[in-house]
């Protein structure tokens, strides 16, 4: 066995996984607070990447300005989405809300095509290019730096939810809105913040993904992998998002490396099925309370 190749692939896989984790985190935050499964998260990533392209590529602003702006834009998109179409759906069956987000993704895809055209785009280079060698071990620099940035934001989020009341407010709101209100928790605000920060995480990931994978109005479809990630980790678990992301990223890459790309989806979904049968709420998801 070629161990060097194994380690190189592993690092690449974990790096991809870190970005998955970031999107998954955004997804989980939104789910935790609002119990909404956001199928449009891929499109939010895509739009944010286009924003970055506009700021950095077309207006030629410095990436250090363009990137936060793109994240802000993604966050605002999430926040506006929440206000306009999620809040009125409160209390409706979760699956109707899912459908609304699917409708939204169609809107965003069309809008991107109208605004930025249908063609594929490449983001301006903003990450260092020189390949990194750790001894013999080669790491693609884009991927490495992307992963570092992603991990940076991940850590910020995790620290916040670990050490502040924010996490409790989020879950309280999700569990019982009326009661959360009666505790003095501003439910609309929690919702809005969740969508804002969740989308912002996705936005950053969107830019990073597009930086190495390119961009088109249909790029959002990569979020399919994210669904797998959050199910692996558990829909409502931040830890799950982190671990699930790394795991899926690594597994996908290893499958690609040793079996071939056509087996990626097959492996992941097969494994997912086994995980679910053993742990129906993913690795870290909370079990739904069932009482009579």
């Amino acid at each position: 066995m070629d161990w060097l190749f194994f380690f190189e692939s592993s690092i690449a896989g974990l790096a991809t996984g870190a970005i998955y984790s970031l999107v998954a985190l955004g997804f989980v935050i939104i789910y935790k607070a609002t119990r909404v499964i956001n199928f449009a998260i891929g499109e939010i990533m895509m739009i944010s990447a286009y924003l970055f392209l506009t700021f950095a590529g077309i207006l030629e602003w410095h990436p250090l300005i363009a990137l936060p702006l793109a994240m802000l834009g993604g966050g605002l998109l999430g926040s506006v989405t929440e206000k306009l179409i999620i809040r009125p759906m409160l209390g409706e069956s979760p699956i109707s809300v899912v459908m609304v987000t699917i409708g939204l993704s169609s809107i965003l895809v069309g809008a991107a095509q109208i605004i930025w055209g249908p063609g594929p785009r490449i983001l301006p280079d903003f990450l260092p290019r020189a390949p990194i060698f750790i001894g013999e071990l080669y790491v693609s620099s884009k991927i490495a730096y992307s992963a570092l940035i992603a991990i940076g934001l991940l850590v910020c989020y995790l620290i916040y939810f670990r050490f502040s009341r924010g996490g409790v407010a989020l879950r309280a709101t999700a569990s019982d809105q009326a009661a959360a209100f009666s505790m003095g928790i501003s439910v609309p605000k929690v919702f809005n913040y969740a969508w804002f920060f969740g989308s912002m995480a996705a936005a950053l990931a969107g830019v990073l993904v597009a930086a190495s994978g390119g961009l088109s109005p249909y790029s959002g479809s990569m979020a399919l992998s994210i669904l797998v990630v959050v199910i692996f980790g558990g829909l409502d678990s931040l830890t799950g998002a982190l671990v699930g992301g790394l795991l899926v990223g690594w597994l996908e890459t290893m499958t690609g490396a040793f079996l071939g790309g056509e087996y990626k989806m097959l492996t992941i979904f097969t494994l997912l099925t086994f995980v679910l049968v053993l742990k129906p709420y993913g690795l870290f998801g909370t079990k739904e309370i069932e009482r009579l």
């Binding site: 699956i95 409708g103 809107i107 097969t270 129906p280």
Partner: protein, 347 residues
């Protein structure tokens, strides 16, 4: 205005069509269906067949998702199983539709039951993704099991017939699809007035209470998966007979989402919902196209310029509909009907 309907026997109270008016309307509706193909253009006839197939498939998904509450993203994959099976049976066994479709349905039902096995433990979105896993695995099989599925190129249906009649025109297909769609819907409606339909709904509303009250959860969840897949398999078979070719790309994940959208926009858990939803999802894109064509005289390049706008509008329509009436078009229909019955009095 209509005042309460007096019924004197239990059977008449539980009949599907309880009033004379309803029966008359039904008659008119059937008559319209019968005459429609002779007055329609080939294009609308084609769309009608497409709607018919969609109605069958959506009704099947409604049994699983709407009635039993098990979210599935595997419906497209199930249709694929039905389609491949039907074509294979027709080409290799020389079967006609009358035999190949039910057999395809049965095989799909068996696959559905297997896919449904985790449903006892896995719920909600977790289940949805588990079913999606099934469709990914099915897709892999479609691509790689070359001797049967023809791999990438797919398989062509050479011998499309029913009772020896060649199904080579949309007109003939119409008279196969539409009666089957009616039977499919009636089946679902009948189910709802028996213990099985009630058990499905009980499982959806409160599964564990249902279990304590005597409903065997595994049995009914699997039954629902099986029945729903049977519908999907039959719809897939019809699809294959209609298009005469099946490839791995024929039933992508989008298909599953399409049908989910259809039943949600139409109204989950109702009989009418999947029908309205199937019509909506199939026809709205077409209607939008016609609308764009109207603008052409004013804006010559409209068809090109407005194409992405159509994508936006389609999404916006789904969102708008659900914001306006989260219970779907069936609920809107019910409201209108109630209103018209009470007219001219205000409710």
């Amino acid at each position: 205005m209509r005042i309460g309907d007096a019924v004197s026997t239990y059977p008449s109270d539980e009949a599907i069509f309880r009033t004379q008016t309803q029966k008359v309307w039904m008659g008119i509706f059937i008559a319209t269906l019968l005459t429609f193909p002779f007055v329609s253009s080939p294009y609308t006839l084609f769309l009608a067949c497409l709607v018919g197939i969609a109605v069958i498939s959506a009704t099947g998904l409604n049994i699983l998702v709407g009635l039993t509450g098990q979210i599935s993203l595997g419906h497209g994959g199930f249709m694929g199983v039905g389609a491949y099976t039907a074509v294979w049976l027709a080409d290799n066994m020389g079967m006609g539709l009358a035999l190949s479709m039910p057999l395809a349905g049965l095989l799909t039902a068996a696959v559905g039951v297997v896919v449904g096995l985790p449903s006892l433990r896995v719920k909600g979105l977790y289940l949805a993704i588990a079913t999606m896993a099934a469709s990914v695995i099915l897709h892999f099989i479609f691509v790689h099991w070359e001797p049967v599925t023809g791999g990438n190129a797919g398989i062509n249906l050479q011998n499309a017939n029913i009772f020896g009649i060649n199904l080579n025109s949309d007109l003939r297909m119409y008279f196969v699809v539409v009666p089957l769609a009616i039977i499919a819907v009636l089946g679902e409606r009948n189910l709802l007035r028996t213990r099985i339909g009630r058990a499905f709904i009980a499982v959806r509303d409160r599964d564990i209470s249902a279990e304590v009250l005597g409903v065997d959860l595994l049995r009914y969840k699997l039954m629902s998966f099986g029945l729903s897949s049977f519908y999907a398999g039959c719809a897939g078979a019809l699809w294959a007979y209609f298009f005469k070719v099946v490839t791995p790309e024929s039933f992508p994940l989008d298909t599953s989402i399409f049908y989910l959208a259809a039943i949600i926009v139409g109204g989950m858990g109702t009989v009418l919902g999947p029908i309205l939803g199937a019509i909506f999802m199939t026809l709205v894109p077409e209607i939008l196209k016609i609308l764009t064509a109207v603008v052409v005289p004013i804006l010559p390049n409209a068809q090109v310029l407005l194409s992405p706008v159509r994508v936006v509008v389609f999404g916006a329509l789904i969102v708008g509909f659900l914001l306006y009436e989260p219970h779907g078009m069936a609920e809107m229909w019910r409201r209108t009907r109630r209103y018209s019955h009470l007219w001219p009095f205000k409710t």
